[in-house]
Structures are given as C-alpha cells and as structure tokens.
Symmetry: C2
Subunit: 255 residues, 2 copies
C-alpha cells in the first residue's frame, strides 16, 4: 500500500464538515484531497419530521443514510400491519447497509423525531472506495461492526430476561449518547414504549412495568419520555455473566 500524506486522527473531526464524514473517516487516515472528494458526494439532507420515511421495504438502494441529529428506526413491516423493529439509530450512525447484498432495501426506515439526515449515494461511495483502499476497508469495518452488534442482540433476545433486555437497551443508549458528547444519564426517548417493547421482544406492558420497577429500585427516574439514569453500575449488574460480550458488541459499554 503506497505511503500517503494523511490527516492526523485528532484533526479529522475538524476536516470533516459533518457527521457523515466523521462516521466514515474517524478511524482512518485520509489525505485532504480524499476527504474533500468524500465531502463532495455527501448530500446534506433537509430536515425531516416524525413519521417521514427514508426508504421502504423493496426500494432500490440509492443512498446510505447517516443520522446527523435526531433519530431513526429501522423495521420490517409484516403483511398484517405489525412490524419488527430492527434498530434505533442515533446521530452518527449509518443506515442502509443491509441493502448492499442485492441492491434493494430489506427493511424500512422511519424518522422518530425532527431529524437531519445525510445521504450518501452508494455507487459513488463504492467507486470512491476503489480508489481509496482505506475507505474501502472502513466500509467493510462498518458492515462488520453491524454484524457484531446483531450478534449481541441475538444473545439478548435468545438468553436474556425482560429485565436484562431493558437494562441493556438503556445502557446502549447511554453509551451512544456519551460517545456523541451528550449526557449519558439524562436523555429523552424518541421512541414509544410500544417500539421499545417491539425491539426487545417484549409486550408494551412489560416495558412499562419494568420502568416502574427500575424507578422503585432507584436505578433511574422516568417521566414519560424523559429518562435519568441514577445507577449505571446497578444497571450493569443486571446484565449478568454475558455483560462483557454485550459490551464489546456496543450494546452496553461501560464508561
């Protein structure tokens, strides 16, 4: 691999003018020209509102999406009006990777609150990747990370109790908010109880009861969508012996 003049890691954040680029560049070294080329293909999205759809099941893959602000859920709708929530996506996270396999989206994506979304034309990104090996590598890494995360979720749904699932979910949000410089203990849930339960394989009522119980136990305080985590260690303890695995899967990272 040829030696290239690279931007030091701590300057990339500055060089990248938006979080789409940060997501793609952060762990790699890119030349200023490369960053510029990448910057050129990213489309800054207009603001979107609760319920707006990024893509539907079966749509051809045109863009990958990066959440700039706000939040997005991906889900797979079923014929009877039900759905399976596949994930919640916070600022900096990349959406649409599941569509690369055959060029069509296999799930749908909806904005949960007023959000800013960036679009990255996948064909141009891939073409750029052929010319920038480290970008290509980073793309593979992002896909691989998604696989690792999914494995953690499989563990959660396959082996964990309702209590453990909700604790893991809250800790996951906490970690991701912290990574983005937001409060890891005080945030608003942009998704409904129903969506949380759907995501975690639980009934709405169970989620609601658990919130109440967690509050009674002093683990957190919750009022509708506003959550304040009071005892992160206590929540971690609920995860049990699989906690290290969930941690590395990005589902419950400790500070």
């Amino acid at each position: 691999m040829p030696e290239r003049k690279v931007i030091p890691l701590d300057q990339i954040k500055v060089a990248c003018k938006n979080c789409s680029l940060a997501t793609l560049c952060l762990p790699i070294g890119l030349t200023p020209e490369d960053v510029d080329r990448l910057d050129q293909i990213v489309k800054r999205g207009r603001p979107m509102h609760r319920g707006d759809q990024l893509f539907a099941t079966g749509d051809p893959l045109h863009n990958l999406f990066v959440v700039k602000t706000g939040s997005v859920k991906t889900y797979c709708p079923s014929t009877d009006g039900g759905e399976q929530v596949l994930g919640f996506h916070l600022p900096g996270e990349l959406i649409g990777l599941e569509a690369i396999q055959d060029g069509f989206h296999h799930c749908a994506a909806k904005v949960l609150e007023t959000s800013a979304i960036c679009e990255i034309p996948f064909d141009r990104l891939e073409e750029l990747g052929t010319r920038i090996p480290s970008l290509q590598h980073q793309l593979l890494r992002l896909l691989s990370k998604e696989i690792g995360h999914d494995s953690g979720m499989l563990l959660l749904l396959g082996k964990k109790s309702a209590e453990e699932r909700l604790a893991a979910f809250l800790l996951s949000l906490s970690t991701r908010y912290r990574q983005r410089g937001l409060s890891p203990t005080d945030f608003f849930l942009s998704m409904s109880r129903h969506e949380i339960g759907n995501y975690l394989g639980l009934a709405v009522e169970t989620v609601s009861r658990l919130f109440t119980r967690f509050q009674e136990e002093g683990l957190l305080e919750v009022s509708r969508k506003h959550v304040q985590l009071r005892d992160l260690d206590g929540l971690h303890e609920l995860l049990g012996e699989h906690e290290p695995y969930l941690r590395q899967a990005g589902i419950a990272m400790r500070s």
Copy 2:
C-alpha cells in the same frame, strides 16, 4: 470501471476449483487471471474433526474460513461455561466476517463433524479486492447478506413462538442443502438438540417436544439426528405472516 474480459457465469463454477472460490465468485464476473489469483491465496484445509476449533474469542483475524464439507457452529462463550450459539454454517458458507471490525474475532467457531475447511488470508483477500472492484463489491455483498440474515433471526427470536422458530430453522437447513445440491428433505443434523435450542433461544426439552409433535402431525419424521421433512408447505404455514421476510433473509426460502 474499465471493461474486462469476464468469465460467463455458467462457467465460473468450472473455473473455481473449490467452493471457497464459488462462494466468492459465483455472482460476479471475473477474468481468468483474477480467478487464478484468488485461487492462489486460498489455502485448502486439512480435514478437521468434531470439536476442533477454527478460532476462539479474542483471536486476531488471520483468515476467513469457508466450509467445504461438513458443518461449523459459531458461538459466544460466557464466563460461566455457558454459550450463545450464533449460527450453524454449511458447505459454501463464509465464517469470520464479524472480526473485520477491529481485527479480532468476537466469537468462537467449532467444527461440528468431520469437515474440510478452506482458509482465506483476509489481508491478502482485501489487497486483492483493491485491484478487483467486483471482488470488493462481492465482499461487501457477503457482509450485507449476513446483516440481512441476522435481522431475520432477530425477528425470529423477538416475535416467534417455539414452534415457529423450529419450523424456520428446519426450513433454513432445507433451503441451504438444496442450494448445495443435497436433499432438501432428508438430512442429518450435525448439531445436538441442546445446540439447536441454544441457537433458537429455547430449552432442550422444548426442542425435543416439538420434534415429537411435528412428527405426530405428519410434518416430518425424525430419529435422533436423521430428519426427513414430509410436508414443506405445512412447515411454511407455521411461519405465519412474517414468512416472506424470513424467506428473503435466507431463513426459510420456498422451493
């Protein structure tokens, strides 16, 4: 992208001397030289036996693995001796993609029966990818497919009853065997009931009871590890309204 002389799809199977190459080449067009270069980096593995480990949690990523014959399970061990089975891998399937994210394996892989396994040094594969765009694309597709499959499993574990899970599991095996030219209705389970239950988030006893019930209902005949599916349509009906989604996720494809 420069125009290249490519091998027609129906000849690739011939050009590819083993199934590792088939997995990587099948959907793409490669020049004879490219196939040859790819062929050169693949290491044909010696036969392995039940219990042999391909890699353990935390091992650095050196090779991706392709099952040539036999079967492999990937799982994440927990500190207390338990484990979560993440997947079963049949001939032609690629293993180790979860390690690309940071160069370390996040799960372990064990051979379930006497198997032949090919190894592909990942760094050389990736380097080859920088020179063969269509190979790079195929790599991305394989990762993406894995993500799609995991989504299907999340749906299965999050929303489905024990009955639906086992039906989906059996149909998944059926489909994959058929794709490899083996009988889709008559095969041997290389994994134990315990491993099946672990994978599906069920207790061993539940799996056993379901096998018995399916047999009583005429859906299949089972004797220890030998399974004969008698009513594929009946099994499909058990999946319910999410069946189309599971199908595209490669979890239960209809013939």
